[in-house]
C-alpha cells in the first residue's frame, strides 16, 4: 500500500517538475508570430495553388505581412476582392491588378496540322518534348498529351478529343499559372482578361519560316508581317517569324484579325461581325479602318444592356491604358 502511494507521489513530482521545466524552456524558445499572418491567411482562398509565386497561402500571408508595400502582390485566385480585404487587414491601399486568364497559343487541330508519325511513349508532354518534336511537322506546337490539364487544380481545362488541343474554361480559370509552367513548349500564356473578356492574341508559337510553318500547319503564323503593318497602335511585333500582340498596347480594334492570311490571330468573346469579309480583298480590310476610335464603344453598344454597363466601360478604359 505504502509503495503504491510513494510511487504515485513520485510520478506526480516528476510530472510537475517536467512541466515547470518545459514551461520555462517554451518561454525561452518562444517564436513570436505576427497574429496578422493567421488573419491574412484566413482571408486568402486556401487554394495553395502557388499562382502568387509563394509556396502556398501561408507563405503568401507571411510575405504580405512582412512587406511594406503590397501593391506588387496579387492573389490571382481571390482577385481584387481578396486583395482589398487583405489590404484592409494590413492597413495598405491596394490597387486592383488586372485580371488575367490563360490562353492556348496553338490552333494546330488534327485538321489543321496533320499527323506525320505516331508517338507511343510515356504520356507526358515533358518527356515527349525532350525525345522528339511532336507527331506533326510543327516542332513548336501542342503535343496533346495533356500535362497542362493534369497540372490544373481548378478543373478549368480539358482536352478536346476532336481537336486534340486543351481548352480553357474561362469561368473557372484563376490564372494561377500552373499550366503555363507545365507546358514544355510554352504554348500557354496568361493574358489580360480584357473588357468583357474580349481578347485578341496570336494563336501560334511556330518560329519556322513561312513555307515550312504553313506546310506543317494550315493556321500557323507565317511571319508575313501584315498584322504589324495594319496595327494602328504598334501593339504587334514580329520576331523569329512569329507575331506577338502586346496586350498593354492592343486596343482590340480587330484589324489584324482580318488581315491575317492564315487566321492565326484569334478574337475571343466579341459579338459576331455584321458581314464577314470574303477572303482578303483590300476593300474589306479598309472598311473597319473607317471607325477606329469609336471601335470599342460601337462594339460594346449592342451587348451592353445590363446595369453594370458603366462599371465595365470604366474597367475597359483603364485596361486599355
Amino acid at each position: 500500500m505504502n509503495i503504491i502511494v510513494i510511487t504515485i507521489l513520485a510520478l506526480c513530482a516528476i510530472g510537475v517538475a517536467a512541466a515547470i521545466i518545459l514551461y520555462f524552456v517554451a518561454q525561452k524558445f518562444k517564436v513570436y508570430e505576427d497574429p496578422r499572418i493567421d488573419e491574412v491567411e484566413e482571408a486568402l482562398p486556401a487554394a495553395n495553388c502557388g499562382g502568387c509565386g509563394y509556396p502556398g497561402c501561408r507563405g503568401f500571408a507571411e510575405a504580405l505581412v512582412k512587406a511594406d508595400d503590397i501593391s506588387n502582390f496579387n492573389c490571382p485566385v481571390g482577385g481584387a476582392a481578396v486583395m482589398s480585404h487583405v489590404g484592409g487587414i494590413l492597413g495598405h491601399d491596394v490597387k486592383a491588378a488586372d485580371p488575367t486568364v490563360a490562353v492556348i497559343r496553338c490552333n494546330g487541330t488534327c485538321d489543321n496540322r496533320p499527323k506525320t508519325n505516331i508517338y507511343d511513349g510515356a504520356t507526358s508532354c515533358t518527356i515527349a518534348a525532350s525525345l522528339y518534336s511532336g507527331d506533326t511537322g510543327c516542332q513548336h506546337g501542342c503535343l496533346g498529351l495533356g500535362e497542362c490539364v493534369d497540372a490544373c487544380n481548378f478543373d478549368a481545362m480539358y482536352m478536346d478529343k476532336e481537336t486534340g488541343l486543351p481548352v480553357i474554361i474561362e469561368d473557372k480559370c484563376v490564372s494561377c499559372g500552373a499550366c503555363v509552367k507545365a507546358c514544355p513548349n510554352s504554348i500557354i500564356e496568361l493574358r489580360k482578361k480584357g473588357p468583357k473578356s474580349r481578347r485578341i492574341f496570336v494563336s501560334c508559337v511556330n518560329k519556322d519560316k513561312g513555307g515550312v510553318a504553313k506546310k506543317a500547319c494550315s493556321v500557323a503564323c507565317i511571319g508575313c508581317g501584315k498584322c504589324v503593318k495594319e496595327c494602328p497602335f504598334d501593339a504587334i511585333t514580329l520576331e523569329n517569324n512569329l507575331a506577338y500582340i502586346d496586350y498593354n498596347k492592343c486596343k482590340l480594334c480587330r484589324k489584324c484579325v482580318i488581315v491575317c492570311p492564315t487566321n492565326a490571330i484569334h478574337e475571343l468573346n466579341f459579338p459576331p461581325r455584321k458581314e464577314k469579309p470574303a477572303t482578303k480583298p483590300t476593300a474589306a480590310t479598309v472598311k473597319p479602318v473607317a471607325a477606329p476610335k469609336a471601335e470599342a464603344k460601337t462594339e460594346e453598344a449592342p451587348k451592353a444592356k445590363p446595369e453594370p454597363k458603366a462599371k465595365e466601360a470604366k474597367d475597359g478604359t483603364s485596361d486599355n491604358k
Binding site: T116, N117, D120, G121, A122, S124, T126, I127, S130, L131, Y132, S133, G134, Q139, D208, V212
Partner: protein, 442 residues
C-alpha cells in the same frame, strides 16, 4: 567461366540477322544533307556558303570548342544551301546541303587498299590529326575522340580497352568491320596506344561472335601488346564502365571517368577510323551501318557517306516492308525512333532497325508491384523504380542524391519491368533536369 561485368545486365534475343552479310558500298546520294552537329558537345561552325564548290574530304564546318568535332564533306559538288533541316528526332537543326556532282576527292587522301603499318607520327601529331579528322566515338555516343586521347594532367592511362562488344541486339556493323578489316583495326589500335602511351590493349568481344573472336585473336598475334578478351554475351556490356569491369575487373567510381582507374575505352570502329585518318589522310565522312529487321528482305551491312538519306539505305536493302511500324535509329535497346525516312545518316548512325507492328506495340502501363526486377538488372546498381517516381514528382534534389546521373540509359529496367512501366523515359527526364541544375551550380 567467361568474363562479364559484375552487377545487373540482361540478355535480350540477339537477332543478329545480318551477321553473314559482307559490307557493301552504298551508292553516293544525289543530294547530301550534312548536319553540323553530329557529336556530343558544341555544334561545329559552317565555313562554306551557298554556291561553294566542295570536294570529298574537305572541311565544311569547323570545330567550335574543345568538345566539338570538324565536319567534312562526304561528297563532291556544290553547296546548295545552309539551312535548318529536320534531323532524326524531328527538330530542325542547321545542315549543309550539297548537290552531288561526280566523286572528286582531295588529292592527299590515299584511296588505295594497301595496309600501312609503320606509324611515323608523334603522340601530339596523332591527337591533333584525330581532332582535325573529326573522329568521334562510333559506338553511338559520338563523343569527340581526341578529347578522350588527351589524358588530363596528373592521370595516366594504363590500358586501352577496345569496345568490340556490340551488345545491342540486331546490330552487326562492328562485327563485319572486324572480320574484313582486322589488320587495319590493329594498326589503328597501335596508333591509339602510341597516343595514350600505353603498352597494353584489350579488345573485348562477346562470345556470340565466335568467328570475329577467332579472326581477331589470330591477327592480334602479329602485334605486340594487343590481346582479345572473349566475354559472355550480356547487355549492356558495351557501356564503358561495364566493359572495364568485364575486361579489367576494375570498378569506375560513381561520377568518375574511366581514366580514374587507368583505362581509356574506344570503339573498334573508331580504331578503324583512326587508322584511316592517320595512315590514309582520310577524315571521317563514311562509316558502316547495319540495316536490319525481321520482315526486311535483305538485312545487310553498308558503308555509307554521311548525309545520305535514310530512304537510300532502305531502298538498297530491298525496300520498306509493308508491315513496318517503326524505324529505329541505332539498336532496339538504346536507339530512337526516326520521324521520317528523309533524314540523313550521320557519324553516329550505327544501324537502322525496321520493326513491325506486333514487335513495337507498347503494352499499357500498370502500377509498380515492387518486384525489384529493375533493381536487380540495373548495371549501375541504381533503383530505377524509385528514380522514376522521383522524376515524376520533380524531386530533383533526391534524384541527385540517388545518383541519377550514373544512369547510362541502357534501358534494361524498362525492358525487364513486368508492369511495363516507362522507367527509362522518366529517368532520362530527371537526368536532364538534374544535369541542368548541376551545370547551373558550377
Amino acid at each position: 567461366m567467361l568474363k562479364t561485368f559484375s552487377i545487373g545486365g540482361i540478355h535480350p534475343e540477339e537477332n543478329k540477322l545480318s551477321a553473314q552479310s559482307a559490307i557493301q558500298e552504298l551508292p553516293i546520294p544525289k543530294i547530301a544533307t550534312i548536319p553540323i552537329a553530329q557529336h556530343i558537345g558544341a555544334p561545329a561552325k559552317a565555313i562554306v556558303k551557298k554556291g561553294d564548290e566542295v570536294k570529298v574530304g574537305q572541311v565544311i564546318a569547323q570545330s567550335s570548342g574543345f568538345v566539338s568535332a570538324n565536319i567534312h564533306s562526304s561528297v563532291s559538288g556544290t553547296v546548295f544551301k545552309v539551312d535548318d533541316v529536320m534531323d532524326a528526332t524531328g527538330f530542325r537543326r542547321t545542315s549543309i546541303i550539297i548537290k552531288v556532282d561526280g566523286d572528286e576527292w582531295l588529292e592527299h587522301i590515299d584511296r588505295s587498299e594497301d595496309l600501312v603499318t609503320e606509324i611515323t607520327q608523334t603522340k601530339e601529331e596523332i591527337i591533333k590529326r584525330v581532332g582535325d579528322a573529326g573522329i568521334v566515338g562510333l559506338g553511338g555516343a559520338t563523343f569527340p575522340a581526341h578529347v578522350k586521347l588527351s589524358v588530363p594532367p596528373g592521370k595516366t592511362a594504363e590500358v586501352l580497352v577496345i569496345n568490340a562488344v556490340e551488345c545491342e541486339p540486331y546490330l552487326t556493323s562492328d562485327h563485319r568491320v572486324m572480320l574484313e578489316k582486322a589488320d587495319e583495326i590493329m594498326v589503328g589500335i597501335e596508333i591509339l596506344m602510341k597516343a595514350l602511351e600505353v603498352k597494353k590493349a584489350i579488345i573485348g568481344i562477346e562470345n556470340n561472335k565466335p568467328d570475329a573472336i577467332a579472326h581477331m585473336t589470330q591477327v592480334a598475334t602479329k602485334y605486340s601488346g594487343i590481346e582479345v578478351c572473349p566475354l559472355k554475351t550480356q547487355y549492356p556490356q558495351g557501356g564503358e564502365k561495364q566493359l572495364i569491369s568485364a575486361t579489367m575487373k576494375r570498378e569506375v567510381p560513381s561520377g568518375a571517368l574511366p581514366i580514374e582507374v587507368g583505362a581509356v575505352v574506344q570503339n573498334v570502329g573508331t580504331a578503324f577510323a583512326v587508322y584511316e585518318a592517320i595512315q590514309k589522310n582520310k577524315p571521317l565522312f563514311e562509316r558502316v551501318a547495319t540495316i536490319t529487321g525481321k520482315s526486311l528482305k535483305n538485312p545487310s551491312n553498308w558503308k555509307f557517306r554521311v548525309g545520305t538519306p535514310v530512304s537510300d539505305i532502305i531502298e538498297a536493302a530491298g525496300g520498306l516492308p509493308e508491315d513496318t511500324a517503326k524505324i529505329v535509329g541505332g539498336g532496339p535497346m538504346m536507339g530512337k525512333a526516326l520521324v521520317s525516312v528523309d533524314v540523313p545518316l550521320t557519324k553516329g548512325s550505327s544501324g537502322l532497325l525496321l520493326l513491325a507492328e506486333e514487335e513495337t506495340a507498347r503494352k499499357a502501363t500498370k502500377a509498380c508491384i515492387r518486384c525489384g526486377k529493375c533493381v536487380s538488372v540495373c548495371p549501375m546498381g541504381l533503383e530505377p523504380y524509385l528514380l522514376m517516381v522521383l522524376a515524376d514528382k520533380k524531386e530533383y534534389e533526391r534524384l541527385e542524391n540517388d545518383a541519377v546521373m550514373d544512369c547510362i540509359e541502357c534501358g534494361s529496367c524498362s525492358f525487364t519491368c513486368p508492369a511495363t512501366r516507362p522507367l527509362l523515359d522518366y529517368i532520362r527526364l530527371g537526368k536532364g533536369k538534374v544535369g541542368q541544375i548541376m551545370r547551373a551550380r558550377k
